[in-house]
């Protein structure tokens, strides 16, 4: 009781700091906003027994992140929101103290229903299409607002170079990163149980967003996926060329620059890179959700209300197949090894006449089997020829090399060091050795079929690595 009274009083005091500055853009108003953020920190984060922020306080911090005009405001509000979520999670696991069962009882999922969210409360009810986005500037997101945000980012990634990038686009990137943190924070505890529980996953925020997107007549899931890929690949490309642009080099030495704010220039690689990571997180979360849904489907746990959704991986494969330009950057930037390998293998299977029989097992060992399965497609000249005809020799090289790299990152087991005599006997059994050998022979067979083949530098690097691994282990 005492706590709640204190909380109300503190809310009033803290919000009073913002009173006069709601809409103004003066130095004073900014000072007030910073003082407000500091006050929330001091009340909720700093003390060991801090007071959870009220919904109004959270909403005000979020507003500052969304409408803030300077990095000085955007960065601390972004940080504070993440800290608040970490400290006062909306969904968490706790050992159920009320239950009478033994101490080995499973953890219980606790949902703080009244906790604030950056998403609107009625996400799941897709039927009501509201034009919230414009009316409610700085407020919580609904699914169409989320779509719009990604569209904005895609626009930035599509035609931006760092001259046109401004604080506003950095702000959108941070909003997106925060939303992803929320979606992930909501998803992870639901997945922590030993067995997959579709009823829990069905209620996850991400699933609600997706259902709402599906149900909407205006929004197109396919377009959204395309935008997601554009954001991820586009931002990556902006950054990798970032420093090499001569105009920037000049500004960094002496030249005054009119169009490049140094603070934005310093921030971009950091914030852009984290946005790429967040986008990758979104894609993997959806793919994992798709997988769980499929599993639940097979076990008969889904209902009609769950709807039908094209699995994301199929949409990604379509995009990669029909849009050559993004294949290479996608493979470069997307570095979740498990899903990357999965995507590449499915890509290859689309074109091989007889897809290898896969035994579905949930542990990682199937991945080994499948990569070597894919590599075996290149063991005979005829099959290699037909694949080259369908996919193109450069794309094949890229796919194989990236698949090999993903495989390396998945096989975490330490390889025996050079000259370690004890381990020599096991070499033949090591699946990695087999993969490396097959990798090299696949490239050799490509060259046998196409004598003029130019080995791409990425392919060379893969071969170099494979050869080094072999010589290290033999």
């Amino acid at each position: 009781m005492e706590n709640s009274i204190g909380r109300g009083g503190i809310e009033e005091n803290i919000l009073a700091i913002l009173d006069a500055s709601e809409t103004k853009e003066t130095r004073d108003a900014n000072d007030d906003r910073i003082a407000f953020l500091e006050a929330v920190r001091a009340a909720s984060i700093v003390p060991e027994s801090g007071i959870p922020p009220t919904n109004k306080m959270c909403a005000a911090v979020f507003r500052i992140l969304r409408v803030g005009k300077s990095l000085e405001l955007i960065m601390p509000s972004f940080q504070l929101l993440n800290e608040l979520d970490k400290r006062y999670p909306r969904l968490y696991l706790s050992s159920s103290d009320r239950s009478k069962s033994s101490s080995s009882a499973p953890l219980e999922l606790v949902l703080v229903k009244e906790a604030w969210l950056p998403f609107v409360a009625d996400l799941g009810t897709s039927s009501s299409e509201k034009e919230v986005a414009d009316k409610n500037l700085g407020g919580p997101f609904d699914s169409s607002g989320f779509h719009l945000l990604i569209q904005d980012l895609a626009k930035v990634a599509r035609d931006a170079n760092f001259k046109t990038l401004d604080t506003k686009s950095l702000g959108s990137m941070l909003v997106f990163q925060y939303l992803l943190n929320v979606l992930e924070g909501d998803m992870l505890p639901r997945k922590s149980g030993e067995t997959m529980n579709w009823t829990l996953l069905r209620e996850s925020l991400l699933n609600m967003v997706l259902i709402s997107l599906q149900g909407s007549r205006k929004l197109n899931y396919k377009v959204l996926v395309r935008d997601c890929l554009t954001v991820m690949c586009g931002l990556y490309q902006i950054q990798s060329t970032f420093s090499n642009d001569p105009t920037y080099l000049e500004t960094s030495v002496v030249k005054p620059s009119d169009n490049c704010d140094p603070a934005v220039a310093v921030a971009l690689p950091e914030i852009g890179n984290n946005t790429c990571i967040a986008m990758q997180k979104l894609l993997t979360l959806i793919m994992e959700l798709d997988m769980s849904k499929k599993e639940a489907d097979m076990q008969g746990y889904t209902t009609r209300a769950d709807g039908v959704r094209t699995p994301l991986i199929e949409l990604i494969l379509d995009e990669l197949t029909y849009n050559d330009e993004i294949l290479c950057p996608f493979l470069q930037v997307f570095n979740d090894p498990k899903w990357k390998l999965e995507i590449i293998l499915q890509y290859i299977w689309k074109y091989t006449s007889k897809p290898p029989v896969r035994t579905r097992r949930s542990n990682g060992s199937t991945d080994d089997a499948t990569l070597s399965g894919a590599l075996k497609c290149f063991s005979s000249t005829t099959s290699t020829k037909s694949i080259i005809k369908k996919i193109g020799i450069e794309v094949i090289q890229l796919l194989l090399a990236h698949a090999f790299k993903a495989h390396l990152f998945l096989s975490s087991g330490k390889c025996p060091a050079l000259g370690d005599p004890d381990s020599k006997e096991d070499v033949r059994d090591n699946p990695l050795v087999e993969i490396c050998e097959n990798m090299i022979s696949a490239f050799n067979s490509l060259r046998r079929v196409d004598e003029n083949m130019e080995v791409l530098s990425f392919g060379k690097e893969a071969l170099f690595t494979a050869a080094t691994i072999l010589s290290t282990m033999s």
Partner: protein
């Protein structure tokens, strides 16, 4: 700044709108302006009626005069506002931490092509495909690095040669290519923090290399408070992009203390100070999260035993170097971790700066409180800007660390000080920073009551 904002003897009509710009909470600027215009237009109306009586035929001219006089007044107001805000530069924090950059060392590494990793491969039959030789080796290695193969190779071999280590380290700190500096930094972070795959690294950088890099970036150990640097698009100097990798590397180094000793405690202390100074540069706002993480891992570098002493040393050294304006508040507030050590640091930094503010006249906590209480805020010459700084410093010193719970005397003095600031400054006080001090103090006072 004493007296510079004292408009008592000036024309109240002209000066008051300007002054209230900062005190909008007391009387809105709009209110005053509209009052003023009402008066003015009444006057103009009266005149125009008189004039109309004289020459009723020329009403167009009339409107023009009205407009002209109005716009004149607006111009005057705006000019005065500009003047005032110019004087108010001190209400911004911000330092130019980076001056002119120096020439970085050459990145080419002569012996790189003959490193064992490449030599080993050149004997391989596959090399017919590559036609790799020692000359082209550099370029090939860059590819291996940029595409993330190199760290995997390091784990597989369990070994990083000296030439490779030096080469990647220099790329990380000095390459102008984002791709290379980032992947070189990834490489180092990976090999330093590898858990289950121990990697033998033949060469480790020392603090001197890190410090040298800062000097090449133009980092100034003697700081200059530079107001000109505040507007966007300022030229000359500024941090190079490599500072990002530098910060990440420092964080990684301090994480692995139990495995590799790269930093000594006194070096880690210096680095904490450097990170705090990086927080003072507006150009580095975008790296706030990175800087925060780096500070956290630096602080966690110290053992509990070391920290007591190190925390004090850092605080004392910072207190002497930070300018005693809003920058010192920023320096305190950027220490934003909420673990015990961070809170200790924040509190001691605030305390030490407070001591320096009073020229070390006070030697203990009670004395400094006594000095604070003795300040008479009603006095016209009282510098309320300084008062504001003292207030925020004291808040951080006393509240962040929950120190008051164990010290009832200080607690009482703190309450008295807050009452001084909040009750003795009237809400109509027009001095600069009067409302800021007053609002802050009453906010804090309410906090002590609700507790």
């Amino acid at each position: 700044m004493d007296g510079s904002l004292d408009f008592e003897f000036e024309d109240p009509l002209l000066s008051s709108p300007v002054v209230t710009k900062k005190r909008k909470k007391v009387i809105g600027l709009d209110d005053l302006l509209s009052d003023y215009y009402k008066e003015k237009s009444k006057l103009v109306e009266r005149e125009s009626i008189q004039e109309k009586a004289k020459k009723a035929y020329n009403s167009d001219d009339d409107v023009n005069t009205k407009e002209a006089s109005l716009s004149e007044v607006i111009d005057q107001c705006q000019n005065q506002m500009k003047e005032i805000s110019g004087e108010e530069d001190m209400s911004m924090w911000g330092m130019r931490v980076f001056g002119n950059q120096k020439v970085p060392p050459p990145l080419a590494f002569p012996g790189l092509g003959s490193c064992a990793l490449l030599q080993f491969f050149m004997k391989n039959e596959l090399n017919s495909l590559f036609e790799l030789d020692s000359d082209k080796g550099d370029l090939f290695l860059e590819g291996l690095l940029a595409n993330g193969w190199l760290s995997k190779l390091a784990f597989i071999c369990g070994h990083v040669e000296k030439s490779m280590a030096v080469w990647t380290f220099n790329l990380m700190l000095y390459s102008s290519k984002e791709e290379l500096r980032t992947s070189a930094c990834d490489f180092w972070c990976a090999i330093l923090s590898s858990k289950d795959e121990p990697v033998l690294i033949d060469w480790l950088p020392s603090y001197l290399e890190l410090k040298g890099a800062l000097e090449i970036y133009g980092f100034e150990y003697k700081f200059s408070f530079n107001r000109d640097s505040l507007p966007a698009g300022s030229n000359c100097g500024g941090p190079p992009q490599n500072i990002r990798s530098w910060v990440r590397f420092v964080a990684a180094c301090s994480h692995v203390r139990n495995k590799l000793s790269i930093l000594s405690t006194s070096e880690a202390e210096e680095l904490v100070e450097v990170i705090i100074f990086l927080f003072l540069d507006h150009q580095l706002h975008g790296l706030a999260v990175l800087l925060y993480e780096c500070m956290q891992s630096l602080i966690s570098y110290f053992t509990e035993k070391e920290w007591k002493n190190s925390c004090n040393k850092i605080a004392k050294s910072l207190a002497c170097r930070v300018p005693r304006d809003l920058n010192c508040l920023r320096a305190v507030e950027c220490i934003s971790g909420y673990d015990t050590c961070s809170k200790q640091l924040r509190s001691s930094v605030a305390y030490q700066i407070l001591l320096v503010c009073f020229d070390n006249k006070a030697t203990d906590e009670e004395e400094i409180m006594r000095l604070l209480i003795a300040i008479n805020v009603k006095e016209k010459g009282c510098d309320l800007f300084k008062m504001y700084i003292y207030l925020v410093l004291a808040e951080n010193w006393l509240l962040v660390n929950q120190m008051l719970e164990h010290k009832p005397v200080i607690n009482e003095m703190w309450g008295l000080y807050l009452r001084n600031c909040s009750c003795q400054i009237s809400s109509t006080d027009l001095r600069s920073f009067a409302s800021k001090v007053r609002n802050k103090a009453s906010y804090l006072l309410q906090g002590t009551v609700t507790k």
